[in-house]
Symmetry: C2
Subunit: 142 residues, 2 copies
DNA sequence: ATTAAAACTGATAATCATTTTCAAATTGCC
DNA sequence: GGCAATTTGAAAATGATTATCAGTTTTAAT
């Protein structure tokens, strides 16, 4: 029925390297270009096109998440630890330090129920990102 | 203290035209390019740079809202009727038809309170957009 | 291990939205 | 009217991302 994912993924050195990078930096939020620079500085050759393609694949598979930026600074990518499946909770992203909090609690269901019942709207958790300030940054901001 | 808005805004034909366009199409969600094409087709001459600049100003003033798109399709802009001040409520945006629902109810406060108390996170309503399907599109989708 | 097909890489070119530049035009104010 | 501040617009520049395509690597099957 759905043959979008009919092709298998071949494991490659570049793919593994990028994946390893994210696993080593679980909280870092990087652009494709930053990855390119880091790899080049580390003496690991990789093409930009490849980076974009790998990132796309990883986003597709739900391993990482893509965040759009308001200015023209290029999208950032960040590891999403998929233990519980990320369609099941919201992501709270700090606009200051980039931290992503996984909001995985019963209240979320209540939230969705309210929006469905009172506003006739079916929330897409995977696509939605709640922006604001995390505890630390909020303390600093005041 | 804050001299960012020290310069006065001159009212111009182009500025008025774009503003009028949004008022006439409160529910339409357009890209800068679409505005350009519409104006050209209507015989109203305008430069693209000007459109971008006007849109930026209107976003700044809170009159319209800028929505980023995941693909490379360019940002879309939509009128935000500022009756109650848009920092006071959430925006629910349908990923199918583009409709924006203003969620302005007591539950929102509860939501913010919960997130603050249980997740230590200070939600920024103005920046946050909840994505999903509106009633009509959700019905069709099933 | 060979092999063939499928998938991936990377250098480069292309695309395309957005920004910058700067001279000319417009606006608001005296 | 006259002047300074601001805006406009055509064209060039920028910059992130995607497409191209020949060559390489991976996988699965023999």
């Amino acid at each position: 029925m759905d043959n979008r994912d009919s092709k298998k993924n071949y494991r490659t050195r570049q793919q593994d390297s990028i994946e390893k990078y994210f696993r080593l930096h679980p909280d870092s939020c990087v652009t494709a270009d930053e990855i390119y620079i880091r790899f080049m500085n580390a003496g690991e050759k990789i093409g930009k096109a490849t980076i974009y393609r790998c990132l796309d694949r990883m986003v597709e598979s739900g391993e990482i998440k893509k965040f759009l930026s308001d200015g023209g600074e290029g999208a950032t990518y960040q590891l999403i630890d998929g233990e519980g499946g990320c369609d099941r909770h919201f992501h709270l992203k700090c606009t200051r330090c980039g931290t992503v909090i996984h909001m995985d609690c019963e209240f979320m269901d209540e939230f969705e129920r309210h929006i469905m019942q009172h506003h006739g709207f079916m929330v897409d958790n995977g696509r939605t990102i709640i922006y604001g300030l995390c505890e630390k940054c909020n303390a600093k901001a005041t």
